[in-house]
């Protein structure tokens, strides 16, 4: 069992959670992930590690309450225990030796992009963060991201923060105004990563993306997380989750991530209805 030591909301749909898991905390590196399972009948869900405290033995994740398992995780409180919490999984990101890096985050992807930016910044790399959200209300980690970047550009789809646009617009502007990047890191929805890669390919800038496919074990045993990279099958859980974005077949990833869309909707709705009924009864 793994105890929740800290938990709070970042916005209506996104929570921060810190878990006591000393073996994982001792080894975790940026880019790696964990898999949790709340209880005996729960699914195994991968989440990227957002932070770790080796001294305290804690590992933190930031997650969006979108499906049954993440909604249930969101209902848990500090002091509660999660049945399974395994990691650190995946190959750590290679972040050493870069001079200037643009770190692009989309929505929840900022939770994954943030530790990478932080690591780079601590190494003395010049970091420009360009992040996008649907609207101003759901911006997360603003202070943290500002603290670990030389410049932070926040864009919103609806312009509610006064800066409307897509992350690709922000990146293009930086490049056009003379920023010389030796690496772009793009983490967010597959469609965003696809378009960032399309842009950086035009400029010939190496681009690393972080994959978020469906998986079970996270150790290379099921092959459910396979992605096509450079025409070859790769397992995101062991070969990744970071890959050369110019080689990834994003359309295939998007299709594969929708494999259980109907079941996911059904499970989420059933769980939400159950909670509604329970709340009504309490009243």
């Amino acid at each position: 069992m793994f105890k929740i030591v800290r938990k709070y909301s970042l916005n209506d749909t996104t929570d921060f959670l810190s878990v006591y898991a000393p073996r994982i905390a001792a080894k975790a590196k940026p880019g790696q992930f964990i898999i949790f399972r709340i209880d005996e009948t729960g699914e195994r869900i991968p989440l990227t590690i957002a932070g770790y405290d080796r001294a305290a033995g804690t590992v933190s994740v930031i997650f969006q309450k979108v499906g049954k398992s993440t909604i249930k995780l969101g209902e848990m409180k500090e002091g509660d225990e999660i049945l399974d919490f395994v990691g650190p999984l995946g190959t750590p990101s290679h972040l050493d030796g870069y001079r200037r890096v643009a770190v692009i985050g989309g929505g929840l992807g900022c939770a994954i992009a943030y530790p990478q930016a932080k690591y780079l910044h601590e190494q003395g790399t010049e970091v420009d963060m360009i992040v996008g959200f649907r609207s101003k209300d759901i911006i997360i980690l603003e202070e943290e991201m500002r603290a670990c970047s030389n410049t932070l550009t926040i864009l919103t789809d609806d312009g509610s923060n006064g800066n409307q646009g897509l992350v690709t617009d922000g990146l293009k502007q930086k490049i056009e105004s003379g920023a010389q990047y030796d690496l772009v890191i793009a983490i967010g929805p597959p469609i965003m990563m696809k378009f960032v890669c399309r842009l950086t390919k035009q400029y010939g800038i190496k681009t690393i993306v972080s994959m978020n496919p469906i998986m079970i074990d996270g150790t290379g045993m099921c092959g459910g997380c396979r992605v096509t990279v450079g025409g070859k099958i790769k397992f995101a859980c062991v070969d990744g989750p970071d890959f050369d974005g110019h080689e990834v077949d994003f359309d295939e990833l998007i299709r594969r991530n929708r494999m259980y869309a109907a079941d996911e909707r059904h499970a989420r709705d059933a769980h939400c209805n159950l909670m509604k009924m329970a709340n009504t009864e309490q009243r």
Binding site: V86, G218, G224, V227, M259, D263
Partner: protein
């Protein structure tokens, strides 16, 4: 006077039409009367060919003599002295190629039903005995780390515990048992049985650390730093192979590992579990081994209308056990042999709609001694919505990638000098991680052998002296 009936006492089984739609165990097991009657068929031969056919050398005629007398606990004790998991082996061993394959009664008629008798004794013990296997280790005992809780790891851990070592088994998954829980389905090997066997080991002092991925959370070298005197690697062959044909990443194409894990470990067939799985109507399972049979029979039980095995050679070359093929056919699985997948097509959303296959004929024997399949030039398109790829697995690379100095061959299998000693001092290995995908009992045999070598190593190194043995 031996029972000279030519045939085995029949095994009671669930009716195919009913069982093919549920996950309950197919073979019900012998009654005490059945077992005693069958035991009397053993001639108690002097040269004991059956024992030489068993990878863990169960003293077969001795235990069968006890069964014939009605001393079932006595029989169990004899089996258990060399076999850590008799209830498992009695169910899943390919006895026809091992003990039973060597039985003299098999020359004229059927061999003695050694596997069924082993299972009977184990089940009898589980139902009747109190768990009294004592724990022989304490805080001061020499510690050994076992990586993987599958057949090799459990057997090694059991033998080490019996010899007084303090054993920790590291398991990546949330449940112990390895292939016994994620791979072999409930209807062939009820998970409650695996659980009971593992609880037996825990009662002997074996500690099981779940959710711990060696190679990520901790490396082999760090295990030594933590104070383990020796390490056994029994991490199996869990990396699934794929066909390398167009369309293989379509939605609805599974590795057998993924499909079976969703069904067996993650219980996708039970309503109360959240595990999603495609409830397919028309399924093609590619491959001819036991894993392919398990996947096909699971798909049928999940409600498929049509399930076929697609295999590129003929039925004679199939590596699956005869019994598994027979059970699959009884349950309505279609066998499309001499059929080799060429491409998978999908709709606009990426979901499988068909699998095109080359029709094959058998040519001259290849390196494996089996006739090589060659394309006839003809193709067929199978109307399917799910494809399960069961064409073999290879060892997981995590441990070899993170253990400097551990020699592996080009297939990724750990190399050993004597079957279990690796190129690293104090590091032993066995089971599929060494041999590539093989059987439960071979892995168990290797685990037990490694335990003996670990014991010898610890004594030689002076970690353990004769006094505290």
């Amino acid at each position: 006077m031996p029972n000279m009936q030519l045939n085995k006492v029949p095994m009671p089984e669930a009716c195919p039409a009913v069982r093919s739609r549920n996950f309950e165990e197919v073979a019900h097991g012998y009654s005490a009367e059945d077992a005693m009657l069958e035991a009397q068929r053993c001639l108690n031969c002097k040269n004991r060919p059956c024992v030489s056919g068993c990878p863990v050398n169960v003293k077969i005629p001795d235990f069968i003599a006890k069964v014939a007398e009605g001393d079932f606990e006595g029989a169990y004790a004899i089996i258990r002295s060399t076999n850590a998991l008799p209830a498992v082996c009695g169910r899943v061993c390919p006895q026809e190629n091992q003990c039973e394959g060597k039985c003299v009664r098999g020359i004229k008629g059927e061999s003695v039903a050694i596997g069924r008798l082993e299972r009977f004794c184990a089940d009898y013990h589980m139902q009747h005995a109190e768990k009294t296997t004592p724990c022989k280790s304490d805080e001061t005992s020499v510690r050994v780390a076992v990586i993987g809780s599958g057949p090799a790891g459990l057997s090694c851990a059991g033998e080490l515990a019996r010899r007084g070592y303090r054993v920790t088994v590291f398991e990546a998954f949330h449940t112990a048992g390895g292939v016994l829980v994620y791979g072999i389905p409930e209807f062939r090997l009820p998970k409650a049985i695996v659980k009971t066997e593992i609880e037996g080991l825990q009662a002997m002092g074996v500690e099981i650390a779940l959710d711990t991925v060696v190679g990520r959370a901790v490396t082999v070298d760090e295990l030594f730093e933590e104070g383990y005197a020796a390490v056994f690697i029994g991490s199996g062959a869990g990396l699934p192979g794929f066909l390398g044909i167009p369309g293989e990443n379509s939605c609805g194409v599974y590795s057998a590992n993924e499909y079976l894990t969703r069904v067996n470990l993650m219980k996708a067939y039970r309503e109360e579990y959240d595990t999603p799985i495609i409830h397919a109507k028309r399924v093609a399972v590619v491959g001819g081994g036991n894993v392919a049979m398990d996947a096909a029979r699971c798909a049928m039980r999940l409600g498929a209308e049509e399930v076929s095995i697609v295999y590129r050679r003929s039925e004679a070359e199939m590596p699956a056990r005869r019994e598994e093929v027979h059970h699959a056919k009884e349950e309505g699985i279609i066998f499309r042999v001499l059929t080799n997948p060429a491409a998978i097509s999908a709709d606009d959303d990426g979901f499988v709609t068909a699998m095109t296959c080359d029709l094959m004929r058998l040519g001259d024997p290849d390196a494996s001694g089996r006739c090589r399949p060659e394309p006839t030039g003809e193709q067929i398109a199978l109307d399917v919505d799910t494809v399960i790829v069961a064409v073999g697995t290879s060892p997981n690379p995590l441990i070899r990638m993170t253990t400097p100095g551990l020699d592996t061959d080009r297939r990724g299998c750990i190399m050993t000098a004597d079957g279990v000693s690796t190129s690293r001092e104090g590091v032993f290995a066995g089971g599929d991680a060494v041999t590539g995908a093989a059987t439960v009992i071979l892995a168990m045999g290797a685990g037990r052998e490694a335990a003996k070598k670990i014991d010898a190593y610890c004594r030689e190194k002076g970690y353990r002296d004769e006094k505290n043995s």
